[in-house]
Amino acid sequence: MYKNINFSSKFKSANILSFFIFIMSVLFILFKGLNYGIDFKGGTLIELRADSKNINISEIRSSLNSINLGDVNVKEFGKKGDFLIKVEQKMENNSQLVPEIKKTLINNLNAEINFRRVENVGPKVSSELLQSGIIAISLSLIAMLFYIWIRFEWQFSVGSIVALFHDVIITLGIFSVLSLEINLSIIAAVLTIVGYSMNDTVVIYDRIRENLNKYTRLNISETANLSINETLSRTIITSITTLLALLSIYILGGEILRGFSFAMILGVLIGTYSSIFVAAPVLKFFKVSYKTLEKKEEKIVP
């Protein structure tokens, strides 16, 4: 399945595109913001199932309006008759909120109601969760930076981190554009994206390193192009199998995993793209050649 596609000729236009999307993502994250779920914003979430299919959103809304809850968000969730209610946090201690909502709905709705899920996160805990999420993502980026630095040269390390930033920011940017909820499982997805994208980048970098030593007459563009082509079928096959698994979760895994699997699908697509069109061009930018590798050569070759 050896292809000979001239990737390096497209580096420039791809980089302009990446840069544009990256900046747009940053702008969206800054100005439109991210739609934090109750994990990170605090508040109450109630998932309920009504046995009567005739219950509609407006009935739930109007019955909840009778108690003063402030900012309430009701939406359909999965099957018909399933609803998700979200209430924003107003004060630290609202231990009576959930029982009150339950009572109101049971009294006002003409249906048997099953409360399937209740989550209540206080403002202190939610800010701690957000903080540890940010720390976890930053730490993983730093850990990757060091790992690649140890295994390769600093130019590779910078390239892989640029690619990771690219992936994480654009994934979050798309979440911002689509107003999708950011919760704990999205942080898990972002970290997995970091791992996956890195995985992809490492495979290509590994080959670039090998080819730089093997074909010392080729320049970095040619070497990168050769390496990307050589590993292309692997890149595609692994992306396909991973996407098959993820699509299966997205379609069949239920409502709770939908956001997670969507983030992962985005991440795999963007991560695959960035390994070829972001991570490799960075090496070109630094004018990496076989000479760059000489210092470390003895250590690396197994």
Partner: protein, 514 residues
């Protein structure tokens, strides 16, 4: 890379079989387990409640600093120190004293210091002194004094929480300390946590105090449950500490629920004396600052037992008895995080999780066979072995499987074939230049080794960080993802390689269909 010694082959399959054996344990009958190990289902899969409680030690500190007033004044008097302007603040005591240096000497004395004991564990005094100006000082708890108060309050709270939850009788509750101020409670199978939340939300400080008719100094105005405003003496006749048992009952005459209680010897004495001296007066029974009831004392009660009758339902009487039995919490507890999943949602999650796992698995298997024919089959065998080992390791660790954890397994299925894809693609390349098939496979395997390792270690790093920082279900994802990487490497580099070697070595110089 294709030559395996007999001992190697033996070890490779021995490890595989040993780990696989543990995965079977999950399917043994519940009654008579051979080895009692299995993968636990997380609360999101089996249904249940997760509560994070936080103690608030501020009222306790206020109480403790107030208890220092008398010993402090005594210390000042005993040592002929003149003080003035004595003030009791929220968390400190402040006053002016004529000789600060002399006061310090006594204040920070390690010998027989009743006011300010020395805490050996921390090499620090319980109290600290701040000089506000030349003559005025402020006494407050030291950092370690506060820590000691907080720690003992937390330990005590955990104990009381455990007693209350055990008393309600839920199955296999988990009660753990989390950090310095928090208690984690997991209640599997619990459908509605409201009752437990109610029980844990009450400190249950019980007091018996006399109702005074005329308003004078030393009286609190309290409202009873039926709305009656009463003047209650500040002096506590007896408190809940003296209670040894409490049970819900029915009053035969009024047919209303009541709570009967039994006192210890000291309590019985105190109670006997107070009721003897105050026949005709009313005695207020106060729980957390609210009067439950205020019956008249008809006769002296010296038996050491009594009955609380109030305006409650049988459920409330049961809960009150439970609270009194388990004792008072040292400080109020608040629920700072709650996650409850109903059992039917858990079942749905398991169903959809397993369906998507099977579908994802079948899709990947079909794709691999389409792509690599016989070697795809080997990759698939490795993949199946990988899954069995993954479940085996989870069983050995008795890890908790969550919904994101199942997602982690599915993702492992998708990514696991990567190791074999990397190797096969490399071999294909080598086959183009290399005449000997065996040689091509040899080189392919050894060249791909570093890449496979590098690529997987990066994902492993992400999984480890996720495990360290994630909470609950997300941790479950990190576990399956991390273990999945290790079993993937094992199955690709040992199992699949050995199977490949059998095929390649038997084909000799024929054609290989890769």
């Amino acid at each position: 890379m294709l030559n395996f010694s007999k001992i190697n082959i033996f070890l490779i399959y021995l490890v595989f079989l040993l780990i696989s054996f543990f995965s079977i344990l999950n399917f043994q009958s519940q009654q008579d387990p051979l080895i009692d190990k299995k993968v636990n289902l997380g609360l999101d899969l089996q249904g249940g409640s997760y509560l994070l409680l936080e103690i608030n030690s501020d009222p306790l500190i206020k109480e403790k600093i107030q208890s220092k007033v008398i010993p402090l004044k005594k210390l000042l008097k005993d040592n002929n120190l003149n003080y003035s302007n004595f003030k009791i603040n929220e968390k400190s005591l402040s006053f002016s004293v004529n000789d600060i240096e002399k006061f310090k000497l006594f204040f920070f004395s390690k010998k027989d210091n009743f006011l300010n004991p020395y805490i050996d564990n921390y090499n620090s005094f319980e109290l600290d002194l701040e000089e506000v100006d030349k003559s005025r000082v402020q006494v407050l708890f030291s950092k370690y004094g506060l820590l000691t108060i907080n720690n003992s309050a937390l330990k005590q709270s955990i104990e009381i929480v455990r007693r209350r939850i055990d008393d309600v009788g839920t199955k296999e509750p988990t009660i753990l300390q989390r950090g310095e101020k928090r208690i984690l409670v997991e209640l599997p199978g619990l459908k509605d946590p409201e009752r437990i939340k109610n029980l844990l939300g009450k400190t249950a400080q019980l007091n018996f105090r006399l109702v005074e008719v005329n308003e004078e100094f030393g009286v609190d105005k309290l409202v009873s449950e039926i709305g009656e405003e009463l003047n209650v003496s500040k002096r506590i006749v007896m408190s809940g500490e003296n209670l040894i048992d409490a049970q819900p009952n029915f009053n035969n005459q009024s047919n209303r629920p009541t709570v009967s209680f039994t006192l210890d010897r000291l309590g019985a004495q105190k109670f006997g004396r107070a009721t003897t001296d105050n026949v005709g007066k009313r005695l207020a029974i106060i729980l957390d600052g609210k009067i439950i009831s205020a019956p008249s004392i008809n006769e002296a009660i010296i038996s050491g037992s009594g009955i609380i009758s109030g305006n409650f339902s049988f459920q409330e009487a049961t809960d009150l008895a439970l609270l009194l039995r388990s004792g008072a919490l040292p400080t109020p507890l608040t629920v700072v995080e709650e996650r409850t999943v109903g059992p039917d949602l858990g079942e749905d999650s398991i169903k959809s999780g397993i369906t998507s796992l099977i579908v994802g698995f079948v899709l990947v298997i079909l794709f691999m066979i389409y792509k690599y024919k016989i070697f795809g089959l080997i990759a698939n065998l490795a993949l199946i072995a990988n899954l069995i080992m993954l479940i085996g390791v989870l069983t050995i660790l008795e890890a908790t499987l969550t919904l994101p954890g199942i997602a982690g397994i599915i993702l492992t299925v998708g990514m696991a074939v990567d190791a074999n894809v990397l190797i096969f693609e490399r071999i294909k390349e080598e086959l183009k230049t290399e005449k000997s098939i065996i040689h091509a496979f040899e080189i392919g395997y050894s060249k791909a080794k570093i890449t496979v390792l590098d690529a997987n270690i990066t994902t492993l790093i992400a999984a480890v960080i996720l495990f360290a920082f994630g909470s609950g279900p997300v941790k479950g994802f990190a576990i399956t993802l991390g273990i999945g990487i290790i079993t993937t490497l094992y199955s690709a580099y040992f199992l699949a390689r050995h199977l490949t070697s059998i095929i390649v070595l038997n084909k000799k110089e024929g054609k290989v269909n890769l």
